[in-house]
């Protein structure tokens, strides 16, 4: 029987197996940030264990960082302390850190791919569930807890039971204005938030083959929102082209040799998956969520479903929505374009192409937050910043920002935010805040209209928006 992409990468990293138990999986790259690493450093220090392979660890500061005035000291004492702790830990242990202000600083899942740290066929971990993002390169990448961060520090390995395999295939052509974010929100709305638990997912079919690397990262990023530890897409010419010449990518002959190996990774034709789902691209439309988990999504033209489940009702009550109603024309005062899901250059190109020549609605506070210093520089270089400013938008500095209410960027109590981030949990963007997940296009259209609008009706504008 043939092997899946996942099997090939996994099998190449198994060091040993525990009898009747898990396997020891070797980890190529370990990404860390300020929030989930300090206790792991403490643990090793307390036990007198050195960091085994500091050269395979890369650190960034992202969750706690402000997105304005990054040159000034951080106001919040606890955030400042956590970031200082990261700097100390990295210096002490010889770990590369792209701290605030560094030209490579950014959200961990934006920074690593754009620097060529992420490469096909690797195993990568980070104390962050959205590590699944890197699967876009045909990498086994997944989030881990802090105890596991300590394990990787100590041994560059993890003890894991091999997950089951799942394949989601989407074939056909996406409609105009349907973005990668809509594809993954659609998949999660169909499969639910726990369909992937215990599985590693592969995304296959024309839709993903034709997608840019940025789009593939958006899709893989949200694999965890259906419970899957990770999601992968087979590496192809699009992948190789993206990785080529990046800062830490192999160069010249070494690169060619890697490409030859990477070409052997795609799933064999006769490989069998434990679970398979197939969708038709034509069925997907721009999506919005209406509830308090990412599975509670509808096409923007649809109405909120009716369900008697107590948790479903609690969720609608929190959102102050009624079953059976449409979200079109709902007034929205906050829009967030950013997060590890949608803060790459392509996301800002889409937003700018819609916004160009229009004006932000007066009632809307819009936060446009690039995923990294490099994305920020590119936004300026391509003239997108000028387009945003002409339309009344302000471009902020890189970081996780309003995705998780850990830094200064919080949505006030009771307010709705149309957000390109990945989680609409209660209070995720601030205590009492109400999140509506959407694509950068829907978010941009909301910011201009001051309310949710059916972008599918705006075909003329959409012609300039590619997927």
């Amino acid at each position: 029987m043939g092997k899946t992409l996942f099997d090939k990468v996994w099998d190449a990293h198994v060091v040993d197996s525990v009898q009747n138990g898990p396997q020891i999986l070797y980890i190529d790259k370990h990404l860390i940030h300020e929030v989930t690493s300090p206790q792991a450093f403490n643990e090793l220090e307390a036990r007198g264990i050195p960091i085994f392979r500091p050269n395979q660890i890369v650190a960034t500061a992202d969750h706690n960082t402000p997105t304005l005035n990054q040159d000034l000291p951080i106001k919040d004492a606890l955030s400042r302390k956590q970031l200082e702790q990261l700097s100390k830990n990295c210096t002490k242990n010889g770990i590369t850190l792209y701290e605030l202000g560094h030209k490579y600083n950014g959200i961990v899942h934006v920074m690593a791919p754009e620097l060529g740290i992420t490469q096909p066929g690797m195993t990568m971990v980070c104390g962050d569930s959205h590590t699944s993002t890197h699967g876009a390169f045909g990498t086994i990448a997944f989030g881990i807890g802090t105890s596991q961060v300590a394990q990787v520090f100590a041994s560059q390995c993890l003890l894991l039971t091999k997950p089951k395999s799942l394949r989601v295939t989407v074939n056909g052509n996406l409609k105009n204005g349907v973005l990668p974010k809509d594809v993954i929100l659609y998949i999660i709305s169909k499969l639910g938030t726990n369909s992937g638990t215990g599985y590693f997912c592969e995304y296959a079919g024309d839709v993903f083959e034709n997608m840019s690397m940025e789009g593939r990262m958006t899709v893989c990023n949200m694999s965890i929102e259906m419970g899957a530890r990770g999601g992968m897409i087979a590496p192809d010419e699009t992948t190789f082209e993206y990785v080529k010449d990046r800062e830490f990518a192999p160069k010249g002959e070494a690169f060619d040799k890697k490409v030859a190996y990477w070409k052997t990774l795609p799933t064999d034709a006769d490989a069998v998956f434990d679970k398979e789902y197939v969708f038709d691209a034509e069925d997907i439309e721009p999506m919005v969520t209406y509830g308090t988990n990412p599975g509670m999504g509808i096409k923007i033209s649809e109405t909120i479903p009716v369900d008697d489940n107590a948790s479903f009702k609690k969720s609608l009550e929190y959102m102050n929505f009624e079953a059976g109603e449409s979200l079109i024309n709902k007034p929205i005062n906050y829009v967030f374009i950013g997060s590890c899901t949608n803060s790459r250059i392509e996301d800002f190109r889409v937003a700018a192409s819609f916004i160009k020549g229009k004006q932000k609605a007066d009632n809307v506070t819009a936060w446009l937050v690039p995923g990294s210093k490099q994305v920020e520089a590119q936004i300026i270089e391509e003239g997108l910043k000028a387009i945003f400013e002409d339309a009344g938008f302000e471009l902020r500095q890189p970081g996780c920002s309003a995705c998780l209410a850990m830094n200064d960027d919080k949505i006030p109590q009771g307010e709705y935010c149309v957000s390109t981030s990945n989680r609409n949990f209660e209070g995720r963007q601030g205590q009492g805040s109400r999140t509506i997940l959407a694509s950068p296009l829907v978010a941009a259209a909301t910011a201009v209209a001051g309310k949710i609008v059916d972008v599918t009706k705006d075909i003329e504008t959409l012609e300039t928006v590619s997927h």
Binding site: V15, D16, V18, N20, G21, P22, I24, Y26, V35, T36, P38, Q39, N42, E43, R47, I49, F52, H63, N64, D76, L78, K81, Q82, Q85, G127, D128, S129, G143, I144, G145, T146, S147, Q148, Q151, A154, S155, C157, L158, L159, T193, N194, T197, I224, G227, R229, N293, N309, A310, S311, L404, A405, M406, Q413, R423, F425, E426, G427, R428, Q431, G432
Partner: protein
């Protein structure tokens, strides 16, 4: 890590599905650099109103419920990988979480902190919730060696699955670091072979 063998305790019901780790411990409390003190803020925004008043409707605040077992709805612990969620539950005093389904990363984090996730059938979960809500003084018995969870003084019981390796770790208080360090030569040999 603390050892776990058996536990007999009353239980607190939490009949909500898809409890995510943002609810267990909101992000604004993740700024500590050690593992202490998270228990104070477990389910913070469900236990307290925004003005700081206690939400007496929430089961953890209901004086009729007590114990170190939490019986929660389906898909417990989804979302963020924050191990702070496990630290918060342990800090509050929980030793066992019962649900019909656990999210993957949370389950691993719990096991790495001596907090036992007990996955039961949907029917058994419903029965437990109903029993605990109707008779809060009911004790539940969890036996890790036999992999069973029962209602005390009754013949109502169900067995649960656990990875044999993790079971050994829980019973003996071992953690994965010790095991991985014992394999260092294998790991170095693997590196050389690539």
């Amino acid at each position: 890590m603390e050892k776990f063998t058996t536990l007999t305790s009353r239980a607190i019901p939490l009949a909500i599905e898809n409890v995510d780790t943002d609810q267990i411990i909101p992000a604004r409390f993740l700024k500590a650099t050690d593992k202490q003190g998270f228990g104070d803020n477990v389910f913070r925004d469900w236990r307290f109103h925004k003005n700081g008043d206690i939400n007496s409707d929430f089961s953890l605040n209901n004086p009729k419920y007590s114990g170190s077992i939490l019986v929660a709805g389906d898909n417990f612990g989804c979302g963020s990988s924050r191990e702070h969620a496990a630290w918060a539950l342990v800090g509050y005093g929980f030793k066992v979480i019962v649900s019909s389904f656990f999210a993957d990363i949370f389950k691993g984090n719990a096991l790495n902190n001596g907090l036992l996730p007990v996955q039961v059938s949907e029917g058994f979960l419903k029965l437990l919730l109903k029993t605990v809500e109707a008779q809060p003084e009911t004790n539940l018995e969890v036996n890790l060696e036999n992999q069973t969870i029962s209602i005390s003084n009754s013949d109502i019981s169900e067995s649960f699955e656990i990875d044999p390796y993790k079971k050994t770790c829980m019973i003996n208080g071992y953690d994965d670091i010790d095991y991985l360090l014992s394999k260092k030569e294998h790991i170095e040999a693997f590196e050389m072979s690539r």
